[in-house]
Amino acid sequence: MDFGLSEEQELLQETVRGFAQNECPTTRLRELFDAGTGHDPALWSGLVEMGIAGLIVPEEQGGAGMELLDLALVAELLGEFAVPGPFLGHSLAALGVTLVADPAQREAILPGLADGSQIATVALQESAFGFAPGEWTAKIEGDRVSGTKAIVPSAGQADRFLVGLQGGRLAWVDAKGEGVRIEPVEGVDRTRPISTVHFAGAPASLLGGDEASAWRLLDAASVLLAADAFGAASKLIDLDVAYSLSREQFGQPIAQFQAIKHTIARIATDIEPARALFWYAAHAWDHLPEESARAASVAKAHLTDRAMDAARQSVELHGGYGFTWECEVQMWFKRIMFDRSCLGTPDRHRERTAELGGY
């Protein structure tokens, strides 16, 4: 009975933190953010070298065979440093393949994902509203996939797409192959670019799966997005504290004003205890199948919503500066907008929580 991180997990977080501090400090993040490509090959290589690309890929296929909790701990730190890149889509694609592919397919696909020689991403949600597998309409006929997918993360960098089909099945599609048209969409979060992807008879391998496995994949997505939002919100608290101590008004740091102090204390109280939500949701995904779906939806809804509140408060706390492109706050504000809107808003996940909880 132990609800805490292992030494290995704390070390993993320290390692990723050290990497992010060195390779993605705010100055570098700012360059990438302004450039707007949402990708930096060097950064991604660094993560690949650390084994992040294959963290959750089984050891037999060259991965580290770790659990969703480990991946979520990485996601937290990538959120904290707003690290740009294809981590989210790539991790979910690897997870999806692991979940539903047969041994031969796994053997064919996963080693390339684990060693980073290929980047993959997921194409699941089809509109602003639908994200549930029951709403997916993409079809496979023979070995050709057709359909349109919205909010596909890092599609421009991807070599392969894991595509959600009617009935929750998943297919594997070559991003550079025929019948695939990537339509970049300007997303608000410039660290994780999005596209609409049109598949018109694109050659594909059907991997298998059903609605249950598709939900399982979505639950993992919820956990990673919740962890990312938590990391981003933690960073905002740090920025708030630093700004309130350095910014003077009426001859004293604004932190001296109780209204400012209490605003920060309230943001922190909203966020810090909720760290346990994504820990638990990840652990439940790994070990407590009966709790897993509900825990994932609770974590996604609660953490992304509270993080959004924190972001709004942080902008206000930074005064006029908070409203500028120059102020760091906006980069995390937008990161959280992505986490909150992508693959089911808090409302959607609350409706699911109620449903699963037998309200």
Binding site: A128, V188, G319, T324, W325, E326, R348
Partner: protein, 402 residues
């Protein structure tokens, strides 16, 4: 209490409506660039006595007798058809009233007419990096050197500075005087050497604000309004104007209508979102706030019209916090209705429109912009201090005494 207009005012409304049949322009005039069309129509409005009513004819206004109800009728009717009336620019809206109160005859003649037409564009130079809500602490210097002021320092949050011909601003001219007493109100041509405008990009991507740097920039000694060291008092008049501009109840009602339209067009569980009972209650709760804004505004309007402003000092102090909160409620609800479209970036072409919106990306922009008013023109925390202290007699904040 009587929400009907008198027969005289209804007749006046009729004349306004009659006049407004002239907008939009027709024939050859309708082919002109929009800016010219607006200028033409505004000029006709002045001649008809509907535009710039409080500005003397000598300076380009229509110099009408004070009649708040007539003003309101004009506002309503012009708003309905979107016709150009009094400019709400910094020049027409803030500089002109200040000059009318404090300017010399020469200043009025020189500056008011082109500010009214918008031919000469103005920006406001109050805020500085070190003095956001604390104007009295400003540092920008003006030193008299012969018959010129020599300006040094930095202004920030200067909206439209990139397009302005002139700035009215506050500068510290008496370094030895106490905080409030050492400031003067100067008129600064923006084309002088030593003045540099740098854009401040907003988080949403637009560019409305700027930093303005002064390095030994020189302007004529006569470009001062009021006396040396009197700038603080001179500027109060325009600050009051600024505060009143915020919280336009028409804007609020329009934003709410746009929100209802959004709720009708978005989907929940395969049906229009507006059919969801939870959304309906949330919208109705927001309407409570919107209606409060409108009616509180009407109450203040009546008090102004009756000359009983003292009776509404408290609600007046609250306008800004209240309307900011209400706009945030609207924008948040809209953002929730966007669902997955909340990941979209505002479109380039929408960035300059802080106004009505129908598109998802426009609502994303509103969602970010709705944070702006909490910051602009005095942060919410400062406003709450004012309400607590001046409105209810609570003590002022303590200051560090080191």
């Amino acid at each position: 209490m009587d929400l009907e207009y008198s027969a005289e005012h209804e007749a006046f409304r009729g004349r306004v409506q009659e006049f407004l049949k002239g907008w939009p322009l027709t024939g050859a005039e309708s082919k002109l660039p929009m800016e010219e069309q607006e200028a033409i129509f505004r000029k006709r409005g002045i001649e008809a006595g509907f535009v710039y009513r409080s500005v003397p004819k000598a300076y380009g206004g229509s110099e009408q007798p004070r009649d708040a109800i007539a003003d309101r009728i004009i506002q309503e009717e012009f708003y309905k058809v979107g016709a150009p009336r009094d400019l709400l620019t910094q020049g027409a809206g803030m500089l002109v009233p200040t000059l009318l109160e404090f300017g010399t005859e020469a200043q009025k003649e020189r500056y008011i007419p082109p500010a009214l037409t918008g031919e000469e564009r103005w920006c406001q130079g109050y805020s500085e990096p070190g003095s956001g809500s604390d104007l009295a602490s400003l540092q920008c210097q003006a030193r008299l050197d012969g018959d010129e002021w020599v300006l040094n320092g930095q202004k920030i949050w200067t909206s439209s500075a990139q397009r302005a011909h002139m700035m009215f601003g506050l500068f510290r001219t008496e370094p030895d005087a106490k905080k409030h007493d050492g400031i003067s109100y100067l008129l600064v041509p923006m084309d002088r050497p030593g003045i540099e405008v740098r854009p401040l990009k907003e988080m949403a991507g637009g560019h409305e604000f700027n930093e303005v740097f002064f390095t030994d920039a020189r302007i004529p000694a006569g470009n001062i309004v009021g006396q040396r060291g009197q700038g603080w008092q001179v500027s109060r008049a325009t600050l009051v104007h600024e505060r009143n501009l915020i919280g336009n109840p028409f804007m609020m009602r329009e934003a709410f209508s746009d929100l209802l339209a959004l709720a009708r067009s978005r989907t929940r569980d395969g049906r229009p979102a507006i059919e969801d009972p939870g959304i309906r209650r949330r919208l109705a709760e927001i309407e409570g706030y919107v209606q409060t804004c409108e009616l509180s505004n009407m109450r203040q309007f009546t008090a102004a019209n009756r000359g009983e402003m003292l009776k509404v000092m408290r609600p007046m102090m609250m306008n800004k916090v209240f309307s900011t909160d209400t706009m945030q409620r609207i924008a948040r609800c809209a953002y929730d209705l966007l669902e997955g479209d909340g990941v979209l970036a505002p479109l380039e072409e929408e960035l300059d429109k802080w106004g009505r919106t129908a598109s998802p990306t426009g609502w994303v922009l509103q969602y970010m912009f709705s944070l702006g008013p909490a910051i602009a023109g005095g942060a919410t925390n400062i406003q709450l201090n004012i309400i607590g202290e001046r409105g209810y007699g609570l003590p002022r904040d303590l200051r560090r005494t080191s």
